[in-house]
């Protein structure tokens, strides 16, 4: 437990805060949180943060509860696990999920935590983590797909004071940076994280100066309470007392040949509170896909789905946490035992979206989205230039791919977009300027979005031609199980990856693989997956299907899944369409299923090799 050193000892006294001051504080905190992003984006060097925005900010109250932020990290858990004093000017750093109660969930994420002092006492915390492109270890980008322990995943930094009373611990930083392949990136990105936290600190101090520390901290309490009250009302409205809802989804494999892993989540309301229970999920994985999840993070995911719809302007915070109990079984996928490998937990995080969507949507199918592009798949390429001005120089790329947003109650899922906030792709021209590769295509793939009244978004195919020999790594999923459709919508297409070698051979690659050698002239097709469809495809306007054929988003064959008969120009044959639709209606059940995950799992596994070019994974076994 951290020992907090404050020179002002009189406790802050709670005061009444009027609704207007409350809104002023809320607005100022929201601005401060976006300012944190801005500072980091503009100063970071790694493409993952500066171009793709793989980072998450937070501002907390004096106890560390999040009053503004969007995602995941838990300062109370961090402080609980930190032995030592915390003083004004200290800035703490860690990358060890096992030492901070899973405030972060793999060693690539560097978490900076900073106390905010005002007149000698702690009035809040600012905190931010960002994904470092490389933290050392046995493979470039530090995410070995075959890792079985965290020791294989590069430098793991225990919580320590990067700055002690404002003074940088140069030695410690030097030791850390000596472990990684791109120290200038880590140094700049870390500088950016610290600068962003300090910016937030200044903003909070300004608020305390303006309103007084008593009013400021009381306002935070009221903001937390506002969330509590809103959630309490929502829970009563949405869930029946005592009823249990469950939903199950999958991670296809664990990188070392086992899968699919079953992820089960159940919800039961008991009076004022709900219980979120992960019992029934698969045991801890052999490979690095375990998603060591913090209980508070589960609460936050849950809250996001619940509250944002009710008041989109709300400043989203931790206030409702006491209303949500969380049960996570030990030694499971969600709570693996140290020193289990964790690097590839991005699939688990992403799948949480689908899990919550599928779970909560059951109470109101009109608000139910299909399964979307619930991951942030990685592509890595690295090596040394073999010729030219830069001969011998090391290059290293870490990038995130995108796919289909699912069909939604409000309409079609966008093609090739991000389910993550503020993430963007790395421009092709940037890649070609900084890396020895050429992008030969960057397009979405027709028909990969699930058919529906609202079509699922299409997957993306990026074709990289390598201009220098090197190695590549891939972290993706949904190559085996399907992104499900809802309310009669069809599943989206699964992802696939293959190399077209310069010698003319074709090689299908697993969805999780690293250290694959590539030669000059080889082309990698990195094809992600589509979003599931929403609603009855036979109810979709045939002219819209025709237009999408003209746009190249749906093929002439693909149009038949909507019961639409048309030619290459998208001109619809109305009578042929009507008879095709009648025939299709005849063949299907009267009541369309709420969820369509494609064929049963046994059938998918039986046809795995034939359909995907890859052997079926073996059933997971407990360690």
């Amino acid at each position: 437990m951290a020992q907090l050193i404050e020179t002002a000892t009189t406790p802050l006294s709670p005061v009444d805060v009027d609704v207007i001051t409350l809104d002023l504080v809320e607005n100022a905190l929201r601005n401060a949180r976006y300012e944190m992003d801005e500072v980091l984006f503009r100063t970071a060097l790694s493409p993952g943060i500066r171009e793709q925005h793989d980072e998450f900010p937070l501002i907390g109250d004096p106890e560390g509860k999040m009053v503004v932020g969007q995602f995941g990290l838990s300062i109370p858990d961090f402080l609980e696990n930190f032995d030592g004093t915390i003083e004004e000017g200290d800035v703490l750093l860690t990358s060890d999920p096992y030492s901070c109660g899973a405030a972060i969930s793999h060693a690539n994420d560097w978490l900076v935590v900073m106390p905010i002092y005002f007149e000698g006492r702690i009035v809040g915390w600012s905190s931010m983590f960002g994904h470092m492109s490389d933290v050392g270890g046995k493979t470039p980008a530090s995410m070995p797909t075959d890792a079985r322990t965290i020791y294989e995943e590069g430098v793991v930094i225990p919580p320590f004071k990067l700055y002690k009373k404002g003074v940088l611990d140069e030695d410690a930083l030097r030791i850390i940076l000596n472990q990684v392949r791109k120290p200038d990136w880590n140094r700049a990105d870390l500088n950016g994280l610290v600068a962003a936290c300090r910016t937030a600190g200044r903003r909070v101090q300004e608020l305390c100066a303006r309103f007084g520390a008593d009013t400021y901290t009381s306002a935070l309490d009221a903001l937390l309470d506002r969330n509590y009250r809103a959630m309490k009302a929502l829970l009563q409205m949405v869930f029946k007392d005592g009823e249990t809802l469950s939903f199950t989804d999958y991670i296809c494999d664990d990188g070392v040949g086992y899968g699919p892993y079953e992820l089960k989540l159940s919800l039961t309301r008991n009076g004022d509170k709900v219980l979120l229970d992960f019992t029934g999920s698969s045991p801890q994985a052999q490979g690095p896909i375990n998603y060591f999840i913090n209980e508070n993070l589960v609460r936050m995911f849950f809250g996001i789905y619940m509250i944002t719809v009710a008041d989109p302007q709300i400043l989203w915070n931790d206030g409702f946490y006491p209303l949500v109990d969380v049960e996570i079984p030990e030694d499971s996928f969600w709570k693996p035992r140290f020193p289990a490998a964790l690097n590839a937990r991005n699939h688990g995080i992403g799948r949480v979206f689908d899990l919550f969507g599928g779970l909560l949507g059951q109470t109101n199918p009109d608000l139910l989205n299909a399964a979307g592009f619930s991951s942030s798949p990685h592509f890595m390429y690295s090596g040394n230039y073999s010729e030219g001005e830069r001969k011998g120089e090391w290059f290293q790329l870490y990038s995130i791919g995108f796919g289909g947003i699912p069909g939604r109650p409000i309409g079609d899922g966008p093609d090739g977009h991000s389910l993550w906030p503020s993430f963007v792709n790395i421009p092709c021209e940037y890649l070609e300027s900084y890396y020895p590769l050429r992008v030969e295509a960057w397009e979405t793939v027709a028909d990969t979005g699930g058919a529906g009244l609202h079509r699922g978004g299409n997957a993306v195919d990026v074709a990289y031609r390598f201009l220098e020999p090197g190695t590549i790594a891939i972290h993706d999923d949904r190559w085996l199980t399907y992104p499900w459709g809802v309310n009669g919508g069809a599943p989206g297409a699964r992802g696939t990856k293959w190399l077209e070698r310069a010698d003319g051979t074709r090689e299908v690659l697993p969805s999780k693989v690293h250290d694959v050698p590539v030669a000059r002239g080889d082309v990698l097709h990195f094809v992600t997956w589509g979003g599931g469809g929403w609603g009855d495809p036979l109810a979709r306007d045939p002219e819209l299907v025709g237009l999408e054929v003209r746009r190249g988003l749906v093929t002439v064959d693909g149009a038949r899944r909507y019961g639409v008969v048309c030619d290459e120009s998208g001109t619809v044959d109305a009578s042929a369409t009507e008879s095709l639709r009648s025939a299709l209606r005849e063949e299907r059940p009267d009541v369309l299923p709420t969820f369509d995950s494609g064929p049963p799992l046994e059938e998918i596994l039986a046809r795995c090799e034939e359909e995907t070019g890859l052997p079926a994974p073996k059933p997971p076994v407990p360690l």
């Binding site: 609704v19 009302a233 008041d311 090739g416 503020s422 992008v439």
Partner: protein
Amino acid sequence: MTYRLGVDVGGTFTDILLVDERSGETYRAKTPSTPHDQSVGVLKGITQACESAGIGLDQVGDVMHGTTVATNAILEGKGARVGLVTTRGFRQVLQIARSFVPGGLAGWIIWPKPEPLAALEDTVEVGGRVASDGTVVEDLDEADVRRALESLASQGVEALSISLINSYANADHERRVAKIAAEILGDVTISVSSSVLPELREYERTLTTVANAYVQPSVARYTTNLGNELAASGIDGNLYMLRSDGGLTSAAAAADNPVSLLLSGPAGGVTGAAWVAEQAGFTDFLTFDMGGTSTDVALVQDRTPRIGRETKVGDLTVRATSVDVRTVGAGGGSIAHVPPLTQALRVGPQSAGAVPGPAAYGQGGAEPTVTDANVVLGYLPTSLAGGEVTLDRDAAVTAVQTIVDATDLGSVEEAAEGIVDIVNENMLGALRLVSVQQGFDPRDFALVAFGGAGPLHANALGRLTGAWPVIIPPSPGVLCAYGDATTSMRDEAVRTLMRPFSALDDDSLRDVLSELAEDARASLLRDGLDEDALTVTYAADLRYHGQGFEIPVQIDLSTFDGSGAGLDALRRSFDREHERLFSFLLDNEHEIVTVRATATGPRPAVSAPTLTAGGGDPSAARTSTQQIWVDGGPVDAGIFQRDLLRGGDVVEGPAIVTEMDSTTLVLPGHTATVHPSGSLLIRPLDHTGTGTEA
């Protein structure tokens, strides 16, 4: 010809300002805008202004015009049907749109994705490839180009945009496609990305080029029509358009590069504010232009507005140089509401718009707006001297009562004060974006407030920011036209270099800058400006090698004197900016991304009017007294008629100063001093004055 005309066409009114260059005397005209053909309203206004000056149209020289034609085409979705030519494999560059979904976690659930400005069915791809260093990897497939363009021709596109991968490094393929397109598509206007925006990042470059093509036909049609009509009416001078960066350009140049006009309107306000502030003796200030649905703010330092590289209009963000104006979607029409679940008091983002408008307008609006709150508090007198509009206070009270009912606030006045406080806080957020968040302390700046609602909220924002004095220009409603009439001709030339400092030396950079200066000067010389009258300034966008964002830094050409000190000076300027913005430096090498030369013509000779000096006592202008609600209680405020105030008069708050198109609130504990140039300067009673007074 010693008269010049400033013309600003807004959504509701067209403002005309006729300036006698010798005396500085001005004549105003305000006529309803004519959206179907804006030139009708413009001509009518010009005629009126000339009549009130007692001159003939033939005595008018140049016409300086701020226009929203380009902006409206975007906002209303009424631009041209644009065809787009891309490199094979990149046809969906606008469809994928960098994969970005706005909003927070789960934001994707509610985001309606806008349709691209160039439809996917009107987008074609062609064979041929250039590498990032400009070398040709694969020759342009001209047969493929012809086939693709012919298909676009048959689809009836009205404008063409061409954006090929890596064209910023080598424009040959794009130029060739443009040439073939001219053969195949005839007189369809063509926008080429390597001309519109020769910068790296294919999506941003393509989007900007497509936006240019999208607005080009409307802008070209408008400038041609207006030019012809001006000539036909006997005006002999030239027509100039105000660019987003606050400089003027000839109508022909504007029509070639209309994407540079998207913020013409707001830029007019900022340049107008610069003129007014300078007359009042201030060179450093924030601008605060609050209208009915949105508010624009900017920062001006040493008479020069901060320039940004991005232009935002609605959902669209393009890369085009513009005055760094930040917009918040809140204004007088913003609606206050209380979501039942959280019981928070929210103001906006919904707006009552022009119809039905605030409840107090009596046009059927029932929801409480910021304007209604101002009426409840007595800040907006219900009948204005000389005004045509009367406000319905009872309707405003009824509307605000809904907020009282939904919260634990004790009275309509308390609720109204809350609404005003919250909207002011939104404005403060915007002002902080251009000041504190860019490393500037607002207390070192004055605050120039204009727009319909600006002068009403300005005193409060002075209090929140510490920016004093608050300057209320004479006729805050025609400030844009003032800006149009008092700014200079300008053109710029840009080049992407993308080179580390180690690959450059002083001489090579100086050569590039000289070439750019030639390019930037060329159009102004063609427009008849005298070479000696042009000044050229230089700037570079720099970063540490590997960073994703650049910081614009001015280049002092005199440091490139052959002694080799130029790059060092540039490096130091960048480090200073980086330190100021982010409070740290890196050891990484510096990299120069783009360089630009900006040529500016002479400032027009317009002298300022001078008010008759008064004795300091404003009581002659005091028309009545009204009870207003401030800081939790009622007080009596004097009401003053602005056109009766004399130079040097001091109005003590609480007071309300009214004029035809605006109302100024002076809070208790503050005074408004009438500057001889006509502006009101509001300061706290105990203020010692830190604003930069020239």
